[in-house]
């Protein structure tokens, strides 16, 4: 345990790196706008439920990166939840495979209002390289009503955050 503790105190807070990097300050700026929007529209707390509707997990890794010490999305009041009943935003990745179509619709109906849906990645936005076929439904908007899309394959965490801001400002 002592090794862990010494490591923690040696490394310090990595969220705001000491050297100024273009991406990090941009993330900070985007983040503070997000925080203000969440404070007005959702009383300062924003719950995201991430749904994998047949993706290759590339987008998942980027979404997962939002939670690491470098990006640390929690400081903006955003957190991930385990059930769509607790969620404000559904972050759907992947071209919706036929197997996940019913599950996605169920999850959408299970989310209480006010709710938002964002389709992440090229697959979620327009079907990506899989498109609309016997195996996948294509864009997420073919299955459930979508409030916004974040394109990219995969989109970086900054782009994810910017996408969320866009949805909040639009609403």
């Amino acid at each position: 345990m002592l090794k862990t503790l010494t490591k923690i105190f040696k490394v310090g807070i990595v969220t705001e790196p000491l050297f100024s990097d273009k991406t990090s300050t941009e993330f900070e700026k985007t983040g503070s706008i997000c925080k203000k929007l969440i404070a007005t529209k959702f009383s300062g707390s924003f719950a995201i439920r991430q749904i994998d509707a047949g993706s290759c997990n590339g987008c998942e890794l980027e979404i997962h990166a939002l939670n690491n010490p470098f990006y640390s999305i929690e400081r903006f009041g955003i957190h991930f939840v385990a059930s769509p009943r607790h969620a404000d935003l559904l972050l759907v990745t992947g071209p919706v495979s036929r197997h996940m179509q019913a599950a996605l619709i169920t999850a959408y109906e299970a989310t209480p209002n006010p709710k938002l849906v964002i389709a992440v990645g090229d697959c979620g936005a327009c079907g990506g390289e899989f498109g609309c076929s016997y195996a996948s439904c294509g864009a997420v908007s073919n299955v459930i009503p979508v409030n916004g899309i974040i394109s990219g394959c995969p989109p970086t965490p900054t782009e994810l955050l910017r996408g969320i801001i866009n949805i909040l400002t639009k609403k």
Binding site: P84, A103, A107
Partner: protein, 666 residues
């Protein structure tokens, strides 16, 4: 009062006779029989409470022609308390019985049932009132016999016959043990009535023998482990209101017998007796609830819970004996009051649960927990009263189960007053095991309630279930109300019960005269005010509900439940098979307490289909009773060689016996 008691017993017997007289007119027979039973139960409640308040002691005798075989009856506070319990339960049965028996009327005759029910209740009154060895044993045997005929009412099924046979066997074995213990007492006393037995002095060894025989006898009837095997066989088999009577009341008669024997008849108490009863009580409570957790037959589950609650009562009695024998009469009074309060509570909530089980069986003809589900939407009133029964039996405030457990804990907390280190260690350990027991009981009832009422229906029969007639619901409602009342007004009840330790131990509890705060021991700041707690819950709950549900907001105006399906993680159609079954709910407990049951778990595969079988049984039947039965059959077969079948051999036996006796006498 004397006349009233005699009239009550006579009315009860007459209720049976009238069933015989009006054999051919079922409805009339049912109506009059139950009406007379109801009248007698009301009178009993009145007599019981009046005697407890006035603390009087009445004795009367019926002289018969046989010398030494007079009938003698005494009405004292101990008997009065148990009479009141019997009366309360019989009153509930009076409302429940007629509608319940309607289901049996068409296929079989109910005369036998009505006659035996009346005789059973009359026999229980007589056991409580008896103050003479002869009347006690006569009433005891009458009680066993009449309940046997009630248990075997549905005799077409061979399982029922076997279960009733085991019950009869053990009831008679218990009667024999009690007879033997009374025999020892009779040897040292001048007369056979309880007062002279109390005044007699027994040498230590004989006192221990008498105690052990009485413990086995009364314990077998009460259902302590390992003498409990008849309970889970007989209760599921009997009609539900009889199971309620047997479980709620008859087991208490056995407790009454033990109390009368130990405190009234045996003059001096030994701490070893207290320790034995305490250990037996703790083991019965813990094993009872663990066996109950694995059952999926509702009535068998309730039967095992009866074993658990009898264990809790035994803990209270054991504590009372320990404290009394080490010269702490006030603490002994506390233990005794805890045990007696639990008797009352158990009678109420166990009967409530059995009546609920009867309603469920009536409606869907199923007893298996795995075949029910979702009944709360079909029978909401039954579900509400069954819930109150479940909360009471899990010893949760503010209902009555909690008060008796609280009193038991307070008694065990006085352990530092004892001087012996062993006793001081034993009491907190048994309190901890009692806490484990009540937590496991809560688990078991979450499982049972969830499997029966919540979730989705697992079989088609559930579709046709509905709330039963008003009288059955009223009976359950009455018992639930009693559960709540005895939970919120404990001081009132304890003041009533207080006359019993006064009579048996010479001192009662010195409670404060305040009706709101339960403070069992003066000089101690321990208090519990359940009425204020209840009031607090209702007030704060009301305020919270008003604040939360009635404020303006865009989306959260009203709860919309228009066709929302449950969130089951997005799986396909959510049906009855995706929910947790009762066995699955109890699986973690089964893994944690592995050695307690004899578990047989098999997984077989036959052309692609898997079949999983899980059988849990208790050790005592397989390893004790079946071996005992084999051994006894072996001996009996060897002795059977005497039966030659030839008349000449029997004449030879008679000749040689006569010679032997002549030689002995001359």
């Amino acid at each position: 009062m004397l006349l009233l008691t005699q009239i009550t017993v006579l009315i009860t017997i007459f209720a049976g006779i009238i069933a015989l007289l009006l054999q051919h007119w079922h409805r009339l027979a049912k109506f009059f029989s139950f009406a007379l039973l109801g009248l007698s139960s009301c009178l009993t409640i009145f007599i019981g409470s009046k005697t407890l308040i006035t603390q009087q002691n009445i004795t009367w005798q019926i002289v018969t022609a046989f010398p030494g075989l007079n009938w003698q009856f005494t009405l004292d506070p101990l008997a009065a308390f148990f009479l009141a319990i019997v009366g309360l339960i019989v009153l509930a049965i009076t409302f429940y019985g007629p509608a319940y028996l309607r289901g049996y009327e068409k296929k079989r005759s109910i005369t036998n049932m009505l006659l035996c029910t009346a005789l059973f209740v009359a026999a229980m009154y007589l056991v409580l009132l008896a103050s003479n060895v002869f009347s006690f044993l006569f009433a005891w045997e009458l009680m066993s016999l009449s309940s046997y005929f009630l248990v075997i009412y549905l005799h077409e099924n061979s399982v029922n016959r076997k279960a009733a046979f085991v019950y009869l066997l053990m009831a008679h074995a218990s009667g024999l043990f009690i007879l033997a213990s009374f025999g020892i007492l009779a040897k040292f006393s001048t007369n056979l009535d309880f007062i002279s037995i109390h005044l007699a002095h027994l040498p230590t060894l004989w006192a221990h023998c008498a105690f052990i025989l009485a413990l086995i006898g009364f314990g077998m009837k009460a259902g302590i482990i390992p003498l409990h095997v008849w309970l889970p066989r007989a209760h599921p088999v009997a009609p539900s209101h009889i199971s309620a009577l047997m479980s709620g009341v008859m087991l208490k008669i056995a407790i009454y017998g033990l109390l009368r024997f130990v405190f009234s008849l045996l003059g001096t108490l030994y701490w070893q007796w207290g320790v034995t009863i305490l250990i037996i009580g703790t083991v019965s409570a813990l094993l009872g609830v663990l066996y109950a957790l694995m059952q999926h037959d509702l009535k068998k589950l309730l039967a095992y819970h009866s074993i658990e609650n009898i264990g809790i009562i035994f803990i209270g009695i054991g504590l009372a004996i320990i404290f009394m024998s080490t010269n702490h009469p006030v603490l002994a009074a506390l233990g005794l009051v805890a045990a007696l309060y639990h008797c009352l509570n158990h009678a109420l909530f166990k009967s409530l649960l059995f009546l609920g089980a009867g309603v469920i069986q009536h409606q869907i003809h199923e007893q298996d927990l795995e075949k029910m589900g979702g009944l709360i939407h079909k029978m909401p009133h039954t579900a509400l009263f069954f819930l109150i029964g479940c909360i009471s039996i899990s010893a949760l405030p503010p209902f009555n189960g909690f008060v008796s457990e609280w009193l038991t804990y307070q008694t065990t907390l006085q352990a530092p007053m004892l001087s012996s280190g062993i006793l001081r260690t034993l009491l907190p350990i048994s309190a901890a095991l009692l806490a484990l027991t009540s937590a496991l009981a809560a688990t078991c009832f979450v499982k049972a309630y969830g499997a029966i009422f919540l979730g989705r229906p697992k079989t088609r029969q559930v579709r046709h279930a509905k709330d039963p007639t008003f009288s059955m619901v009223a009976a359950m409602g009455f018992l639930s109300l009693m559960c709540l009342v005895f939970g919120i007004f404990p001081v009132f009840t304890i003041n009533l019960i207080n006359s019993i330790p006064q009579q048996l131990l010479g001192t009662g509890l010195i409670t404060t005269k305040n009706w709101l705060w339960l403070m069992p021991l003066t000089g101690n700041t321990t208090t519990y005010a359940p009425l204020l707690l209840c009031f607090g819950v209702l007030t704060i709950g009301g305020v919270v509900f008003w604040l939360v549900s009635c404020r303006p907001s865009n989306y959260a105006k009203k709860i919309k439940d228009a066709g929302y399906i449950p969130w089951g993680c997005g799986f396909g159609k959510i049906g009855a098979t995706t929910q947790y079954t009762a066995s699955a709910f109890a699986m973690p407990i089964r893994r944690v307490f592995k050695g307690v049951w004899a578990v047989t778990e098999t997984l077989t595969k036959d052309n692609g289909n898997f079949e999983y079988n899980l059988i849990t049984e208790d050790w005592s039947w397989r390893y004790f009773y079946e071996k005992l039965e084999k051994y006894l059959t072996f001996i009996a077969r060897k002795i059977a060689y005497i039966q030659g079948g030839n008349v000449r051999i029997y004449l030879a036996y008679m000749f040689f016996t006569l010679l032997l006796l002549l030689w002995l006498v001359i």
